[in-house]
Amino acid sequence: MSAVQETVTDAPAVEAVPKRAMTLGTGTSLVMLALLIAAPLFVKNFIIFQMTMLLIYGLAVLALNILTGGSGQFSLGQSAFYAVGAYTSAILMEHVGMNYALTLPIAGLVCFVFGFLFGQPALRLSGVYLALATFALATAMPQLLKLGYFEHWTGGVQGLVVTKPDAPFGLPISQDMWLYYFTLVITIAIYIFSVNLLKSRSGRAFMAIRDNEIAASAMGINVALYKTLAFGVSAGITGVAGGLGAIAVQFVAPDGYTITLAISLFLGMVVGGVGWLPGSIVGSAFIIFVPNIAEGISKGLSGAVFGVILFLVIYLVPHGARQVALVAQHLVGKLKQR
């Protein structure tokens, strides 16, 4: 008779972020917002493009934060949802001629369904097993996109070129700038939605599941529903990000959505602070800029430099940017007391 390995549910692998620390204070939020709105007016188009990508990856990291930080489900497969969103937008724009803005909600919806469906078999998996399953999904996606069967729609290995939209109503701003503000509005909307989602009953259900699934179900929470819902929402947001990404980069190709992207998004989440939504943008900045910095420091050892920087970050702030924010908050509090 094989013995059963009994475990008392350990402290959750994903630790809770206290609710009041979930978002930035109003003051800080407004400052951030002002910066985000004003910055593009002073920089060149390429920088604006980078800022757009910053927001887009920020959205993807945000989505992962909801899934892992919120409902405690690990995912190394976000690149798959990103890819589906990107291709949905690209196909709708190039083959159906749909307006770019309209493709985004559709991309989001398609990915929501996809995520929700994927969440079903994933219900029985957790921790390292779920990581493996999502990893499988991420590695499969580029191959699926290359399949000859879909080539007419996907453009096969070459992918599809996507037309970048002009600013509407003949506004005298560049395509990059228009796209930036467009993305910014969507990002803010999704951010507000996510914050409210996590504060709502559903959000509390997610967190109950994250902290102790058995207790949550004993309390009457429909664990299956909320877990798949979390996957769906996370996938949907990632899909929107993917769509925006396709438009910003102006093309989609299978090799742009590999497991490397999934791992990067994971790193972005950790660096930003797991479960801390504002940290998503810090994480996004990390994964966009640090690899470039590393390559600037040493072309031959760029990977090693990146690894060293990553190590330094996680030693100094094992809890990511959230830890920095808490320390800052603490200091500000102390100053106020004087």
């Binding site: 990893f135 690894g307 094992p318």
Partner: protein, 292 residues
């Protein structure tokens, strides 16, 4: 029917690679309760070290043993220097650490030995094994080494005090401390052993996949999959899982039309995931009962 048998046999032969890797994976999982993504890179680096020793004229088995010892020491060093400081950090942060380690090792290996493919010798020769076209003597040797390793590990864990202490530390760390076991050191030892086993895997695999910094990526993924399939708590399961994965991979490539090399991996992974959904603890893993 003959095609099936042949493919199964060929699958077992390639599966030995995954079985070897899976053993290292399970070893580290037993010690630290999660999977180390940098395991493959550590094995690759060890193999390069052995290659370098061979280049310097050290005879094969001398280089083998030396590499084993260096890998063991290296594993302990990496754990003490890089991961002990992260012991109190959240798991996800540790995973980020593994990813960082991966990047560093891969990059450094590329710099020292560059990315061109190198030949790596086998001590077993590569003539057909017992006249069979499907298994070479090297592959048979690999299977033999893996089985020997498995038996060695079994004896270590079952019949030695150190093995007992390591099992205890992994199983109930608090109780292990309460009988006087230094659980922190047990983790370091686990890393050392996993690194040593990984180096063996690397040195067995290199003759087949050729030596270059990215050689282990596919193998590692299959190794993980094999370990998970077999049940992360069971070295025996890991080895069986490795052979099964090898067979799956081969059969999928042979029998499912339109599946080129690229799709074999996702399909194999998908099959494993399906198994997990049915048997979440893997084929030979102990079913895990969770209490609140």
């Amino acid at each position: 029917m003959e095609l099936l048998t042949n493919q199964v046999l060929a699958g077992i032969a390639t599966g030995a690679i995954y079985a070897c890797m899976a053993l290292a994976v399970v070893m580290i999982y037993q010690a630290i309760d999660h999977l180390n993504f940098a395991q493959g890179e550590m094995a690759m680096f060890s193999t390069f070290i052995s290659w370098q020793l061979l280049q310097w004229g050290v005879p094969y088995w001398g280089a083998f043993v030396l590499t084993l010892a260096l890998s063991f020491a290296g594993g302990i060093l990496i754990e003490r220097l890089l991961f002990k400081p992260l012991a109190k950090a959240p798991i996800l942060t540790n995973v980020a650490g593994f990813i960082a380690l991966y990047a560093i090792i891969n990059s450094v290996a590329g710099l020292i030995w560059d990315f061109t493919i190198k030949q790596y010798p086998t001590p077993f020769g590569s003539s057909p094994f017992l006249g069979s076209q499907l298994i070479s003597t090297h592959q048979a040797g690999m299977i033999g080494v893996t089985i020997l390793l498995l038996i060695g590990l079994f004896f270590f864990f079952r019949f030695t005090r150190m093995g007992l202490a390591m099992r205890a530390a992994a199983s109930v760390p608090e109780s292990a401390r309460l009988v006087g076991i230094n659980t922190s050191w047990m983790i370091a030892l686990g890393w050392g052993m996993a690194a040593a086993i990984g180096s063996i895997a690397g040195m067995m695999i290199a003759p087949v996949v050729f030596l270059e910094p990215n050689m282990m990526l596919g193998v590692l993924i299959y190794g993980f999959a094999a370990a998970v399939l077999g049940g992360l708590t069971s070295p025996f399961g890991a080895v069986v899982g490795g052979f099964l994965v090898g067979i799956f991979e081969n059969l999928v490539g042979t029998y499912i039309p339109g599946v080129g090399n690229e799709l074999k991996l996702p399909i194999a992974l998908a099959l494993i995931v399906t198994v997990l959904v049915v048997k979440p603890a893997g084929l030979f893993g102990r079913p895990i009962v969770k209490r609140v």
